[in-house]
Assembly symmetry: C2
Homo-oligomer: 467 residues x 2
């Protein structure tokens, strides 16, 4: 396997890419070198095809040259998957930014990979429809990257992950073959559903170029509340009540432990003091429904009954979208909150809800014993997905290497996931085996070898091909 230098690549690709389509590695801006993981690398060159056909043509040439390439979207990933590694070219899909079609009858949208999530939200709303997947980086992240990483977010409880919002998909294999099934229907059992190979495999099996997204009716109502409860038992009681009585209108159930909530409200001073005496857990409950008046009274009734039966719980229901946004701001301040306890290591784990209380107590104790001085705990509890941030001391060089195995091993022991939504990329790779068996990892490697035998696409991410 020999890699190419920038001049060779430019020459080889000159018949495919236009002037704006090729950037020499030494002129590549930070946009192509860094993602949200904090990692940084130097690409051989940056390739910026402007159509799906150009992506296929580029891949065919790279394949002939044995040139490894890392695929980039909005660069909001947290596991270092998109940081160029030595010898890699970058292929950015940012110019594949067309929304090709919206079908209001079929509730579908055809998009190219480089379209930003916020643009999808806006285009759907303009047609009276909702694209349900929403994550904090909505202004930067791109649909292709969200598909490749099976993005999650705050409404998974109701609408599922990105995987559930994709009806059709087009992907380019490492050798330039186009695998296209841009289906627009909910039901399609004509042969293997190949799109699921590409969704969530972090660009290691193919380059997502286009997709058919599934849209939902635009809800008439959106109601947001912040609930304060005492004890994890009450968290579960509230979750079960909300599920049963709010049904499918329950879209979010986001829990903040006090260690996180106090950092946000007292140190970062985000939000006005909501509760004089906040309980042990603070919960953002959100509903979206089709019936404005009924939905409003439903949330009020459910929370009213809950408060009456509980000991010391309290709740605020937002009276406007601005108030709702202010409640969400508490939950979405996680980036600033982590920085307030730097140096930090963050975790994104899933485990059965029934095991969560004990796990949090145990892992807090274990992390303290390993030199953690502060912690933050919060997450998508309704989805079984928790984020945990451990803060060490500035002089503790071995901190991350000590705490990470401890957290991941403990989650694995419960049958949980070392990555609920962020993926494996490069930084979680040492922990994949905590969640997955040797036979599973061997099958992943066999798939990688079948689809990308030269290991050119996002090489070394998620899984390695055995020599």
């Amino acid at each position: 396997m020999s890699n190419s230098n920038a001049a060779q690549l430019r020459a080889a690709l000159s018949g495919v890419l236009d002037e704006a389509g090729f950037i020499d590695g030494d002129e590549a801006g930070a946009r192509y070198c860094e993602d949200f993981s904090g990692g940084r690398g130097e690409p051989v060159a940056v390739l910026r095809p402007k159509t799906p056909a150009e992506v296929a043509a580029v891949m065919k040439i790279l394949h002939a040259l044995n040139q490894p390439v890392v695929i980039q979207g909005g660069m909001t990933g947290l596991v270092g998957a998109c940081v160029p590694q030595p010898g890699e070219a970058v292929m950015s899909l940012e110019r594949l930014n067309r929304i090709e079609e919206i079908d209001a009858v079929g509730c579908t949208m055809v998009v190219q990979a480089g379209v930003c999530l916020e643009s999808v939200h806006e285009a759907a709303a303009a047609s009276g429809l909702l694209f349900p997947v929403d994550i904090g980086s909505r202004g930067s992240c791109q649909i292709g990257g969200m598909i490749a990483t099976n993005a999650g977010g705050n409404r998974v409880l109701r609408y599922g992950m990105m995987r559930n919002a994709v009806l059709g998909l087009e992907a380019v294999l490492a050798d330039g073959t186009v695998i296209s099934r841009m289906g627009k229907v909910l039901k399609d059992n004509a042969g293997y559903d190949l799109k699921h190979l590409f969704i969530g495999s972090e660009g290691t099996l193919g380059v997502v170029t286009r997709a058919v997204l599934s849209l939902q009716p635009l809800p008439a109502s959106r109601r947001t509340a912040l609930v304060s409860v005492n004890g994890f038992g009450e968290v579960i009681a509230l979750l079960q009540t909300c599920r049963r009585r709010l049904g499918a209108s329950l879209t979010s159930f986001e829990v903040m432990w006090r260690d996180y909530y106090d950092t946000v409200t007292q140190e970062l001073k985000i939000g006005k003091p909501a509760f004089a005496r906040p309980g042990s857990h603070l919960i953002v409950v959100e509903t979206m429904g089709a019936q404005l008046d009924d939905d409003e009274s439903a949330l009020t009734d459910v929370l009213g009954d809950f408060l009456e039966a509980s000991d010391g719980a309290d709740a605020i229901i937002a009276c406007s979208l601005a108030e709702a946004d202010a409640l969400w701001a508490l939950r979405e301040a996680s980036g600033e909150a982590a920085n307030a306890i730097a140096p930090w290591v963050s975790f994104d784990v899933s485990l059965p809800i029934a095991d969560m209380e004990r796990w949090v107590i145990d892992i807090h104790a274990q992390l303290r014993a390993l030199g953690t001085v502060r912690m933050q705990t919060y997450g998508h509890l309704g989805d079984g997905n928790l984020h945990l941030v451990a803060g060490g001391t500035p002089d503790d060089a071995g901190f991350a290497a000590r705490v990470s195995p401890c957290v991941h091993r403990s989650v694995g022991a419960l049958g949980g996931s070392v990555s609920g939504e962020h993926g494996i990329g490069l930084s979680k790779k040492p922990y994949l085996r905590d969640s997955r068996s040797a036979d599973e990892v061997a099958l992943m490697a066999a798939l990688k070898k079948t689809l990308d035998p030269k290991s050119l696409l996002n090489r070394g991410r998620v899984v390695e091909i055995p020599a």
Copy 2:
């Protein structure tokens, strides 16, 4: 590759299977020889392991013997996938019939492959929960088969296909390797999501042995209506109104054309006459929601407004579960209806809803020109999935061979699916290429070769490994 005879197989498996676990081929009852497709075959032997570990042990031995095997569940399939082919052993999973666990907090159920759908429904309901996937063969079909075929049904609009209801999965590969990820959480991005390889691949890539199913809150309300409208435009108008105003409580939107409805009501005399003058299309609308009173009034309001604005539409809302069942009986009489116009050929196609009206008109005309004397048209319109039954004349031997390519080619030309929910199996294999490209089929074959290089599992179903 050499196959074994029954005596050799019995000897080889004697250390694994008990007395009830092995039946000689010539003693195998119809249960193991026929499925709902009408096909019939003779197995070398019937293997009936009683645990997932026995399935793995059996597969390991069959692999060493190069013995092909077809995996059987409830035998309700319609595409001949489970009919034993010459030289094949049968492995029936009917003894893997344990519901292992229900977690009412996490809303999960751990089941073995041979559990019947109806048992899952009952066990979920006993815990105050709903398993949302429902199909007509609920009393016979088994969870393993439903996963292998990604079963659909009447509530896909709201809850998705079987794929969406599976959180964790255990499957045995052709060589006996166990790929187990019995995860219980909605969010798990730790490496490739291998379960999607096995869901919907019709037993060709692995044997599903156990699964973690995702349960939903048991709805408080279930409301069913039958609506009569004039013209396909009104069907679409009603669908859009229901989607927008009923939101997630809309669980079914099933449409019957008059050719189907008249057979059921006038010839089969099923149901009492609902409408003095039925319109061109009859629609079963069903809602399920969390708020009994609100949901009742919502459906009444929506249909009331729709009737007022429409020309000649009419509606009946069921006042009891018995009345609801009577409305559903019209839609679920499809088996008897087809037999009323025998000899028949049935189709299970998906296509964009926006293309449906023209397609139905065109295909009716084409089928008539090809000797079709009667037709029935109905289906899961909200999912883009239609069933079409073409009836020929008794003496027309070439009827099926003439009409099938015509229907499948026309659907493929619209980007639709030659199989919305029934799968490909053996009988739809000649038409797979109408929906899928040569590159897609080549990738399917490459996956088959990677996971089952000897092609022992459900050999020849869906896709062939090229020589």
